[in-house]
């Protein structure tokens, strides 16, 4: 953890136009929650459906993508990463710091609005709010690590990231049950299911597998990104 790098990364993430996207996604979730409450469709089932499809299914991967790639990909794109890499700071520390920044941003912009939306609709009933908050937190952290790694590995990180989130997790995951085992969203839902006692939330993956997978993806992403930065070569733009 390096304070200066963290400060620079926070500024890059929150100080530019990126912040509007980061704010827009939770704002839409909260607006939908308010709307559901207004029309009187604020039952537990509608809440679980909203959190599952919108909070975990759409907001979480997008926030993870924007924060995870946003902490490192623009610097690589500009070439300014060489200034950072030429300093006597261990490269894994750079990766860890950037991951912590991305993870904290996802935690604030994903987990907090998820809790608020759930609380607005069903209060603390049957642990839905707590479950989805923890799911969003852990899933968001895993997404941040995964997409930060992508940002270090390839220039097309954002496109590959959305292809994973939309095609693999969305399209293929809906059709092929086996694909769901390798989906961060499904792991996050499994975590949510453990805490919530709601009968409307059912998951097929065991907690053991989901927890292990989340830990492996998160730790593996950060470590690999650090290793990759150690032998990083800056290539030209296409």
């Amino acid at each position: 953890m390096n304070g200066v790098i963290a400060g620079i990364s926070y500024r890059a993430l929150l100080g530019r136009r990126r912040i509007w996207l980061l704010v827009l996604l939770p704002a839409v979730l909260l607006a939908l929650a308010v709307l559901l409450r207004t029309v009187g469709a604020d039952g537990e089932r509608a809440t679980v459906e909203l959190l599952k499809t919108f909070a975990i299914g759409i907001m979480l991967p997008l926030l993870g993508l924007i924060a995870g790639t946003g902490v490192i990909a623009p610097e690589i794109d500009d070439g300014t990463i060489v200034h950072l890499l030429s300093k006597p700071i261990p490269r894994p520390v750079i990766a860890q710091t950037k991951f912590l920044v991305a993870a904290s941003v996802v935690a604030v912009f994903a987990a907090v609005p998820t809790f608020l939306a759930a609380y607005l609709l069903v209060g603390l009933e049957s642990g839905v709010a707590a479950g989805f908050t923890l799911g969003a937190l852990i899933g968001g952290v895993a997404y941040a690590a995964l997409f930060m790694l992508l940002g270090v590995v390839t220039r097309h990180a954002v496109t590959i990231g959305i292809a994973y989130a939309v095609i693999w997790e969305g399209l293929v995951g809906n059709l092929v049950p086996g694909a769901r085992r390798f989906s961060v969203q499904q792991w996050a839902q499994t975590v949510a299911d453990q805490i919530s006692t709601s009968s409307f939330l059912t998951t097929e993956i065991g907690l053991g597998f989901a927890a292990t997978a989340l830990a492996v993806v998160t730790a593996g992403g950060v470590v690999w990104a650090g290793q990759r930065l150690r032998s990083f070569s800056l290539t030209g733009d296409e």
Binding site: V28, V39, A41, A46, G57, L62, V158, T159, I162, E238
Partner: protein
């Protein structure tokens, strides 16, 4: 060349006029002598093709770039991979028609069924079309030629529109040709095919305008990709949630309107269902009557707004 230079072997500039000459060099003249070498520059006196050709060349160049042609192999993977996925349902449908004599994918539902792929194509390729020029501030170079701002924006929009149209029209046409060749029982669904081709034009125009406009607001490619896909996912997510909520309180008219939040259903409702009368591709019915007029107005309005935003953005970019 040296025989034409007036002072052979003279040191080119550099040597101080009154200073002592460097050892080993022949004593040069007192004042530096400028030499213009004839490097064989030829004046261009071919035909000047003018503004229209420049715009056309820019359009073709952008269109090739969107598909990664003329760029390294890595840039071709994503557009052609997505194009391949777009072709899959057509190929599978032809196989089903040939083997089981049953229809697979319906023509008007093609774009709606594959909307995530089209959205990813739009998101990943439209920043390519506009972001580098903005980032490296080369717009004044384009505008110092006969190309005007409208030509530049028009060329980029035309390229993206053509790319999206190809992405949709090629699978649809392959599917239709397959149907004709297999000779299915009953008349071929020519009207459905034509309606879906008209739909493809509308999809291409609306999505290209939206995508290029959003992409032009950031010189960063990654952020442009993320913005476009975020807006697509938001609109589709909001429309699904709203429609489900409205149906759960038995308000089916409102649910019909909720589908129109998604741009893919909007074009389907406006062009394919509204004008050509095909079956709606959304899980529910669209609002009829005033709904069709509203959908058509929304498609046109969104397109005009996006183009206006683009022009405003480029006026600002060109003045820097």
């Amino acid at each position: 060349m040296s025989d034409r230079s007036p002072v052979p072997n003279a040191p080119e500039g550099g040597s101080p006029p009154a200073g002592p000459s460097a050892p080993g060099l022949p004593p040069g003249p007192a004042a530096p002598v400028g030499v213009i070498h004839d490097i064989g520059y030829r004046h261009y006196d071919g035909a000047r093709l003018g503004r229209g050709h420049a715009t056309a060349a820019l359009t073709v160049h952008s269109l090739r770039g969107i598909f990664g042609l003329g760029r390294p192999a890595r840039a071709k993977i994503i557009p052609f991979g997505l194009f391949g996925i777009m072709m899959l349902p057509a190929v599978v449908s032809i196989a089903i028609m040939a083997l089981a004599q049953q229809r697979g994918m319906a023509y008007p539902g093609y774009a709606v069924a594959l909307q995530p792929i089209i959205a990813i194509f739009l998101a990943s390729q439209s920043p390519y079309a506009v972001a580098p020029d903005l980032r490296f501030r080369v717009l004044p170079l384009y505008l110092s030629r006969p190309v005007t701002l409208w030509d530049y924006v028009g060329a980029k929009l035309a390229a993206m529109t053509a790319a999206l149209f190809l992405l949709l029209a090629v699978p649809l046409t392959v599917l239709f040709v397959g149907e004709l060749l297999i000779d299915m029982p009953g008349a071929p669904l020519t009207s459905d095919y034509l309606a879906s081709m008209a739909g493809a034009v509308a999809y291409a125009v609306l999505l290209a305008a939206l995508g290029v406009a959003i992409a032009s607001f950031t010189p960063r490619r990654g952020l442009g990709v993320a913005s476009i896909i975020a807006l697509y996912l938001l609109s589709s997510g909001v429309s699904t949630v709203l429609a489900a909520v409205m149906e759960s309180v038995n308000d089916y008219t409102a649910a019909g309107w909720a589908w129109l939040v998604n741009p893919f259903f909007l074009v389907d409702a406006a062009v394919q269902v509204g004008i050509f009368g095909t079956e709606p591709a959304a899980p529910g019915a669209y609002p009829g009557g005033i709904g069709v007029a509203a959908a058509i107005a929304a498609v046109l309005g969104l397109t005009v707004l996006s183009v206006a935003a683009l022009i405003m953005r480029y006026r600002k970019a060109a003045s820097r």
